[in-house]
Symmetry: C2
Subunit: 96 residues, 2 copies
């Protein structure tokens, strides 16, 4: 039984990792696009909409909305770190 | 273009939230199973295997392995919080 649960957790974790890899591919494109288009890195309205959407999705999925917001923040922090490493001056560009 | 990227990000985020919700359902079952079976909450060997697996998956997916480990830790912290809230004495039971 424990092995069966763990195999489900491992499958879910693999899916999560692959989705996160894909998400960072898209946010890298967003950063490059914003640089090319001369758009500002941060977009507070977009970020607020993302937070609200994540909370709504979490509630409908039976997940703690507070956790979903923490999760979005965790991912955004990594996006910011990518921009810092890339040195593209887009450290403020979080959620994409 | 930006709208298109953002719609991809939103789709990926929705998938992530639903997978996380499912993952926590399984870890709750793991916790209940361990209590019923009298198994210890923590399993350092399992956790070490999970970390290594996440890092390997991350590398093959083009994701920073360090981030994948941070992500696993982030999720495990939430699992521990669930056990604390549940008061099942399983606060040490992280990765499942």
């Amino acid at each position: 039984m424990l092995d069966e649960y763990r195999s489900s957790i491992d499958n879910i974790d693999a899916a999560l990792i692959h989705l996160l890899a894909e998400r960072f591919k898209v946010t890298r494109r967003v950063g490059a696009h914003k640089v090319a288009a001369g758009l500002p890195p941060a977009d507070p309205d977009r970020e607020a909409a993302q937070v609200q959407r994540m909370r709504d999705l979490a509630e409908s999925a039976g997940l703690d909305p507070v956790f979903s917001e923490k999760f979005l923040r965790f991912v955004i922090d990594e996006v910011i770190r990518h921009h810092e490493v890339a040195g593209d001056g887009f450290a403020g560009n979080g959620g994409g």
